[in-house]
Amino acid sequence: MSRVSVSRRAPLFAAMLLGASFAASAQNVLIRDAKVHTATAQGTLERADVLVGNGLVRAVGKGLSAPAGVKVIEAEGRPLTPTLFGGITEIGLEEVSGEKSTVDQTVALGADTKEMTVRPEFDVTLAYNPDSVLIPVARIEGIGWTLLGAGTATGGSIVAGQGGIERLDGGPDPIGPRVLFVRLGKDGLGLSGSSRAAQWMILDQLIDESRGRITPDNHAALLTPAGRAALQKYFGGGGRIVFGVDRAADIRQLLRWSTKHQLRIAIAGGGEAWRLAPQLAAAKVPVFVNPLSNLPSDFDQVGASMENAARLQAAGVAVGFSEGGASHNARKVRQLAGNAVAAGLPWDAGLAGLTRVPAEAFGVAGEVGSIAPGKRADLVLWSADPLDVSSVALQVWMDGRAIEMRSRQTELRDRYMRPDNGLPRAYSAPSGN
């Protein structure tokens, strides 16, 4: 019923959506005649086909034929991309940001005493709620996966805890390895005795503890056994650590520190990262920027620039996108990439920042972030250029299943758009409408 009403409004997409409805239960589909943005070295293939079997991409190329019984979707030359990375978010970890009872991304066991507690074993993915209304809201805009981030608060520490990649298919479990989050600079000052310098003091102390130079019974020990094991993994190079940091001086210290300890790091924020672009490229540190942060919004990013992404990429840095704290509006991440492109980033790098770069940085490139044989068939068909705000997602597939392009927001829209029928809108529309 809902599909019929949508296609009536937008006859252009009728054929496609009708096809999608039949394919919904199957995981086999041939998407024909699309502008396929593979997000791989293959780049963009004009008027190409993508064959999906059992939820995986089986073939990408021209003139593919559909095996018997496989539904065919005519893309009519429109762009097809992998589902996009929604950035580092709290989707499924917060329902209403301002209501504490719905928010789970931060552990602060010392909140009452304002004591620093260091719990790197804290894993936010365990609180993930796959029934959050945020998930369909993001998904129907082409956002197929996100990195759940751990936050910091008084009574916790600059080592926020771990997160992981969730695919927004309604399933409960993350994919790929866990990621550790650490907060530096201005936003970590309240957790480091009011000095940036103390952030390195604390991190060095944790290095010592994880490597046994501070024994568990030492008065300086900060960690539980589980926390020690967690840090041993990351400080041993066995996992990606995401540092939230903006100021160039802090990034410079971070590069020295992570090089010394041979850590695998990424940067989130990176307001002034462009100023150290060659060093970041040499250290192979991916940087997740918000290109819309072009103002000196604090003294950690006096050097903020619209051209941050473009300059980083030109120097050889892998650039991804993330808007800090944008869970409800994670769909805005496309606008971030588009503005970076408008400010000089090559278009392919703009798409890569929403697909390949985060997939590789967080260890899930074997599953998501590109259109290639063997990858999950997590795909989006767009009305036009997926990086432009004037485009919309027309159909999203997860594991080859066409998802219903509806959310709580489209339900509200349809309830209040329909003509007044004399009954309060709390009653559902008569059948047939």
Binding site: R8, R9, A10, E95, V96, S97, G98, E99, L134, A248, R252, E272, W274, R275, L276, L292, S293, N294, L295, P296, S297, D298, F299, Q301, V302, G303, S305, S327, H328, N329, R331, K332, Q335, G338, N339, V341, A342, S383, L387, D388, V389, S390, S391, V392, Q409, T410, L412, R413, Y416, M417
Partner: protein, 485 residues
Amino acid sequence: MLRPLLAGFGLALLAGAVQAATPAPAPSRYTQDPYPSTYKPLAGGPVLLQHATVLTGTGQRLDNADVLLRDGKVVAVGTALDAPADATRVDATGKWVTPGIIDVHSHLGVYPSPGVGAHSDGNEMTSPVTPNVWAEHSIWPQDPGFEAALAGGITSLQILPGSANLIGGRGVTLKNVPSTTYQGMKFPGAPWGLKMACGENPKRVYGSRNTSPGTRMGNVAGYRAAFIDASEYLRKTTPKPAAPKKSRWWQSSTAANGADSEKDTGGKRDLKLDTLAGAIKGDILVHIHCYRADEMTTMLDLAKEFGFKVAAFHHGVEAYKIADRLAAENVCGALWADWWGFKMEAFDGIQENIAIVDRPAKSCAIVHSDSEEGIQRLNQEAAKVIAHARLAGMDIAPERAIRWLTQNPAKALGIGDRTGTLEPGKMGDVVVWNGNPFSVYAKAEQVYIDGARIYDRADPSRQPKSDFMLGQPATRSAPQIGGVR
């Protein structure tokens, strides 16, 4: 006409009678301006923008059209215009020309960048009713956000107090020109705004201190108490209609006229009540931060109760639920394209909100920012609305959508007779875009304010820069230190 409640309080004189008795031209005692505008347009000769796609802001689109600016005004809009010999001709082939973009909701200057504690000047969170404070007295004109907004085509903007208070204070409308003083930016003759706020913010701020308001009903009681005081003040301070008594042959004419009413028109000025009285009289325009449909309708009833008019609801994430009522009452909806969910009263936000509010006849939909980021790209916010409206079966042409950023905000700010459209006689506030503005790739190439080229993407001499940004090493690449790295 007496409204029952007011009669009950014994406040006989109000809205209708007072407004009818007030002559329009001279500023009333409530709206005298001791901090007047010193804005002077930059000098500049005539400019002819040629061969552009012109969105006039009145709902019209003209292809291959010209716009002539002279003496600070729009002189003509049309095809193959004649221009004075000394006019600067700008070939705008392939480009789009629109009225200057107007943001009705900004905190630039009062919450400037960098956002340090010393710059936190937007909320007088010391009492829930502070109509005595004026946002202009908090504005730091060196906020780098102004020049960033200019690069996004913003030519006028209203700076409002924040939403912590039920009644937050006066807002001020500025021309977005670089200046060392806010008076140098102040839009000449623009009415002040009055900022009010519904819902969660006031009750949270004051409720958490165990002071009123701690609930939504406390919010409404707070507005009513304030406007009851204002109504009384208005009655006491309004000059009585002329010639209350017949003059007698033995009295001098001066004694007969005016003197008797002096005890009523005098009295100590009250800054709070001046502002509220100005709002009731319609000289100060009421802008209300309000998210939920039910609360907006409460505020419409409140406005009727005390005889003021709501110029616009701001944020209004549920405005789509009462779109017909807003249009019927001639109230604008100043809205976001897609923000939602950050608090409970924002939980029902939808991306078609602006389009649905725009749909009825006589509607007044506005794209606003409330953000130093959003104000730089209101055109992109509108583009998102157009795209999602189309998906829902509503086709909105660019010439209609541009009104959300130009004509409609100008109307809400009470400056619609001077700017917001490209019509002869209007201020020469114009943006030249590199193409269709409703795209992520659109850039404002030139921005004219009162006919002067205030910003030019291709001309570094016309790119203002805040004092704060001077001599900041962080704006350059990190130096390579030492011979070997």
